[in-house]
């Protein structure tokens, strides 16, 4: 089979993407613009409300903080796992991915038990007399971030371990001989080389965190809505499908814009032409 006719093999997958991704998107988008009083009326209405801006801000902040924490926690762990022998690395990778095998609802209920007023953390702090009354952790933004970090850390580690394993240790040795101390080597030599892996990890975690539903629903409660829970509320509780669609499209735009920014930052770190 030559190259030209091989292209036809892509048709089923292409059709799949077209039918199941783009058509529904267009289906969602079109009604939001069908207004007698203006093309962008629904969007303008949505963006006029300060409450909605609060939700957008919270969604963005939670995703951003989650990505940062996951990156800071994931990088050292990945550097350690990536430098192990292949067999050890495979076992560790499996252990890292293990939490992902549990059901999301079950996992989040576990966090309710840990974070609640009668939870392990409060009981522990009370027993040590560090606090006088239980802290409000559950049903706050912090609770959503904790749950998201737990959920997405394996994804970040998984996308970094491969890049770490491919690093040539001699490059770090060369840096050391040229007078670079270990911290300087980490920031100027190791992290820039990992930029493509870090970018992939950040995009996956950011997109996941922006659109996560179960975690903010269970750990954030009704007073700490994010865009995804707001969509659910609009569609399922209020039956306002058009508004839900507006929010969905705004969510997509914010996500896409954020990824573009991440890409720029990554290119600043690693300017190799192959990464262009």
């Amino acid at each position: 089979m030559n190259r030209k006719s091989a292209v036809w093999l892509l048709v089923p997958a292409f059709m799949g993407v077209l039918v199941f991704t783009f058509f529904p998107l267009i289906e969602i988008a079109i009604p939001t613009f069908q207004n007698r009083n203006g093309f962008f009326l629904l969007y303008a209405q949505f963006l006029k409300s300060s409450y909605n801006w609060q939700v957008i801000g919270r969604t963005f902040l939670i995703a951003f903080v989650t990505v940062m924490i996951v990156l800071i926690l994931g990088l050292p762990i990945s550097l350690w796992i990536g430098r192990q022998k292949t067999a050890v690395r495979q076992v560790l990778n499996l252990l890292i991915l293990f939490p992902m095998l549990t059901n999301a609802v079950v996992r989040n209920f576990a966090w309710i038990i840990i974070l609640g007023h009668d939870g392990i953390i409060n009981k522990f702090l009370l027993a040590l007399h560090l606090i006088k009354s239980p802290l409000d952790i559950l049903y706050t933004d912090a609770a959503i971030i904790i749950g998201s970090v737990y959920l997405f850390l394996p994804i970040m580690i998984n996308s970094l371990v491969g890049s770490v394993a491919e690093l040539n240790v001699e490059i770090e040795e060369a840096a050391a001989i040229l007078g670079s101390n270990p911290w300087h080597t980490l920031f100027k030599v190791v992290i820039p080389q990992l930029a493509p892996g870090i970018l992939t990890g950040c995009i996956l975690v950011f997109a996941g965190s922006m659109t996560a539903y179960t975690t903010p629903q269970i750990l954030g409660g009704n007073r700490h809505l994010v865009l995804s829970t707001l969509i659910y509320q609009q569609a399922m509780t209020l039956g306002n499908w058009k508004n839900a669609s507006v929010i969905a499209l705004i969510l997509i735009i914010i996500s896409a814009f954020s990824m573009w920014i991440m890409r720029r930052v990554s290119h600043h770190l690693d300017r190799r032409p192959s990464n262009a």
Binding site: E170, E173, A174, A176, I177, L178, G179, Q193, A195, P273
Partner: protein
Amino acid sequence: MADLEVQNLAKSYDGKTKVLKDISFSVKNGEFVSILGPSGCGKTTTLRIIAGLIPETSGQVLVDNKDITKVPVYKRNFGMVFQSYALFPHLSVFENVAFGLKTRKIAKSEIKEKVAAMLELTGLSDLADKFPAQLSGGQQQRVSLARALIIDPELLLMDEPLSNLDAKLRLKMREEICRLQKKMKMTVLFVTHDQQECFAISDKVLIMKQGHIDQFDTPQTIFHHPRTEYVARFIGYDNFVPVSPNSCQDNYHVKAGETVLTTTEDCLNAKVLTIRPENIVLDLKEATQNTFDGKIINREYLGQSFKYTVESKLGEFKVEEARQKMRSSGDEVTLTLPAKHLHPLSE
């Protein structure tokens, strides 16, 4: 550039088997010293301990009589060229070369000036903005060399820097390294497994065998007076004649089987005699000593000469003969081993 002294260096990775056993040698300012040996003999380990990349088990490394054994690698002022080049893939050629200056907190304008001069010296000026992945092997090697030299290192360490290049380029880079070494009066420690390469460029050669030094001398001395059978084999002595123990009669005559062989060197403790294939003479008419009959059993054409395998009562001999008159398998010949080329070895 500076003097280097290594004292009683030993290394064990697992606490049991010693990779290095009591290595001691010194390199003087401006000297080019090669460490030669097969893979696994400990030559790279020695280099890496000197660089500070791995800790020693015991022993000292001194630079200009100062003990630097416990100084961390990034505080030693050495340059190193790796077999894999180990260039920073995310930095341009210019930035790769500038790296060592940046860590030393040198002013930007000075960095620019110095890097430009170094790129000029190594013939890389046109490639300053390229990335390592866009360069050929030889160009990468040059960047790696420029990067190591720009910090004006006290010592330049090279770990098989030429082994990833093709034969023609290897020769060219070899000459270039020589030229730079002489020009900048560098102290160089060069690790290789290629005997020709290291004899061509070194002031002194250190031959290692299983974690210890077998011989440390100038290439000429090693070539003409190998100290052990191991060294002799490494540098192309193909013929080894075992001699009867305690058969040395008057320090210059020794028995191999029933044959008495004459040497010009003291053979009192000799266990084996060795001679290079090109030093054996076939059918020498006026021969009076070290001469016996043989029969050719194999022939190889080497271009400049023929290499024969000759069977005799003292075993098989490899003989290289420049004469273009070809001999054939089965020919009867007389072998003569000139006494001045016959070296007694005690190990």
